[in-house]
């Protein structure tokens, strides 16, 4: 499995590096979106809450990017692979399509984490607001959050496998993820049931308010882990059903 992971991480890195202008334009787009938020908060917003709002925008923007890249890219990639004819080659691997996709998602997330980190620094520089980085704590919260992202990625990949043309859904997902990344649980507690929202909320608390590991209660951790486990299981189930349907209907190589 490590070999598959290495192969897929290398592929993602090679493609990002080879198509650097594309990667840069992606980062610039999100930076411009952040600048719009920054201007809005600075010019129109309440000056008393501007600092907190800016920090909120920095974190929200970074996680919106990460979610979009981690989940939607699976849909785009699978559709592209089906069009190119490489999907069948992946599906014929004795390792299995599910494992290859997991490796691809992890690779995509790791590469995007590096890009997001650079983007975070850039936005912090622009806003003049510095977040508190407790790296071990961030790693502990990010790990289960990413597990939930992988679950979502599987669900989207499954839909792409069966329906192929899911562009409209991916467009809608952008706005759903915008909500996940920006709406705090204090405003909409029921969103705790939604994927990754609990994780983003905890990361926000750690980055903006400087909340420490011990300050999070057992309920927070239980909710985070359970959320990740449930969405990974649901994603895997959705993908397994989609894969079975695709093999039954001969859709694996069709576009």
């Amino acid at each position: 499995m490590l070999t598959v992971l290495e192969a897929n991480v290398r592929k993602v890195v090679i493609e990002r590096r080879r198509y650097l202008p594309n990667t840069i334009s992606l980062v610039v787009t999100f930076y411009v979106i952040f600048l719009a938020m920054f201007l809005g908060i600075s010019v129109i917003g309440d000056p008393a809450t501007a600092e907190a709002n800016l920090r909120f925008a920095i974190v929200g923007n970074a996680f919106w990017f990460l979610l979009l890249m981690g989940v939607s890219s699976m849909g785009w990639e699978l559709t592209t692979e089906a069009t190119r004819g490489t999907l069948e080659q992946l599906a014929m691997s004795p390792i299995g399509l599910r494992a290859i996709l997991a490796a691809r998602m992890v690779g995509t997330l790791l590469v995007n984490l590096v890009i997001t980190s650079a983007m975070l620094v850039l936005t912090m520089l622009t806003a003049g607001q510095w977040l508190s980085f407790d790296l071990p704590l961030l790693a502990v919260i990010l790990a289960p959050t990413f597990v939930a992202v992988v679950g979502l990625g599987y669900a989207v990949a499954g839909l792409a496998l069966v329906f192929k043309q899911i562009d409209a859904l991916l467009q809608v997902l952008q706005f759903v993820f915008l909500g996940f990344a920006f709406v705090p649980l204090s405003v909409a507690p029921w969103l705790e049931l939604a994927p990754v929202v609990k994780g983003i909320d905890m990361i926000r608390a750690a980055l903006i308010e400087g909340v420490t590991l011990s300050a999070f209660g057992p309920r927070d951790w239980a909710s985070l882990v359970l959320n990740a486990a449930v969405y990974l299981a649901l994603g895997l189930l959705a993908f397994a059903l989609a894969e079975r349907r695709a093999r039954a209907r001969g859709l694996m190589g069709q576009y």
Binding site: A7, Y19, E88, Q89, M92, I95, R247, R249, G250
Partner: protein, 361 residues
């Protein structure tokens, strides 16, 4: 003959299959469900069965929509059949797909099976990684393969910049790198120029010499005639014939004759020939007639018609027949009539000599 009796489909394990068979397909049936009213359900294959011995190079032939691709994809585990047994190297593909795929590599879409944004070497490394082969352990083998497939100078070139022939060879190299017992190829020479087509044929022969079992699904008749020992012809979702290529060639050649005449055939004679023989083609204003016989004895019918009209016979010879003609006849007229025609092949030379003697007499 290697044809498998395809009675009731069964999903029994194939562990009892002789170890000599690299591929076993038995009772393969697949109907694709309807996709709306305008796109009804389609039965792609209906009881397809054949076996392929280890180390053989076999051609899978058939017109468009015959069921070749469904058969190949079912063997690759890409399509789940409704019924039937599929085994690769004695492993049931339906029950143990991952294990079976360890013994099988396939090139299904030729140059489309590659990542065009990666280099030749990166493609090989990536696909090897996805089969669990570590990068370092395959590095040397990749270099060897690139040289062997005449891609050494292009190892660091993006696939998008390679010619179609080079892309095709790279796709073959990916399959070769997998090191599997069985290699399945769908249209490996499609769209290639003559020279590259020959190179690909040579590479396939080399794969076979290495002990691999190679199955080529193609429309390219010269490839089958030149490369394959055996062919399985599929039409309308069923196996039409499963036989040695040279045997089919002899079988059909033994029935194809050309007669040069001293006087043109009359209309009544032409009608009589068409009534009594399978394929009659009259050329040169009736001075030459080309016939294909359903059975050896029909040669006498031909002579009888000519004798009845007192038509002088200048010469009577076998006609050179290519595999394309054999294929067209198979698809149009159906499978040859087993033992009877087989005997006709054996006796063909004797029959021709006998006919000539009768003519002389």
């Amino acid at each position: 003959m290697h044809a498998v009796h395809t009675g009731a489909a069964t999903t029994a394990p194939v562990s009892s299959a002789p170890v000599n068979d690299a591929i076993v397909v038995d009772g393969l049936t697949k109907t694709y469900p309807a996709r709306g009213r305008s796109d009804p359900a389609v039965t792609a294959v209906d009881g397809v069965g054949f076996r392929v011995e280890r180390g053989a190079l076999v051609g899978l032939l058939g017109p468009n929509g015959a069921g070749k691709t469904t058969t190949v994809k079912a063997l690759c585990g890409l399509i789940t059949p409704d019924a039937g047994v599929l085994s690769v190297a004695g492993i049931d593909v339906r029950r143990h797909r991952s294990q079976a795929l360890r013994h099988l590599a396939a090139v299904l879409e030729g140059n489309r099976n590659l990542y065009w944004r990666l280099t030749a070497r990166e493609n090989l490394t990536y696909f090897a990684g996805n089969r669990g082969m570590p990068r370092r352990s395959v590095a040397k083998r990749i270099d060897e393969l690139l040289e062997r497939f005449d891609l050494g100078a292009k190892r660091d070139a993006l696939v998008s910049s390679l010619s179609r022939g080079m892309q095709q060879k790279l796709a073959l190299a990916v399959a070769a790198l997998a090191g599997t017992d069985v290699v399945l190829l769908d249209e490996p020479t499609l769209g290639l120029d003559v020279e590259t087509g020959y190179e690909v044929r040579a590479l396939l022969r080399e794969m076979q010499r290495e002990g691999r079992t190679v199955i080529v699904s193609t429309h390219d008749m010269p490839v089958v005639q030149d490369l394959c020992e055996r062919t399985v012809v599929i039409a309308h979702g069923r196996v039409l014939v499963d036989d040695r290529v040279d045997h089919l060639m002899r079988l059909f050649a033994s029935r194809a004759y050309q007669v040069e005449l001293g006087a043109p055939l009359s209309g009544a004679q032409i009608e009589a020939l068409r009534r009594r023989l399978m394929h009659v083609h009259v050329v040169d204003d009736g001075l030459r007639v080309q016939v294909e016989l359903a059975k050896g004895d029909d040669l006498y019918a031909l002579i009888d018609v000519l004798r009845e009209g007192a038509t002088p016979i200048e010469s009577l010879d076998r006609r050179v027949i290519d595999f394309e003609t054999v294929f067209r006849r198979l698809v149009k007229d159906g499978a040859p009539n087993g033992d009877a025609t087989r005997e006709a092949v054996i006796d063909a030379d004797a029959q021709l000599e006998s006919a000539r003697s009768r003519l002389r007499a």
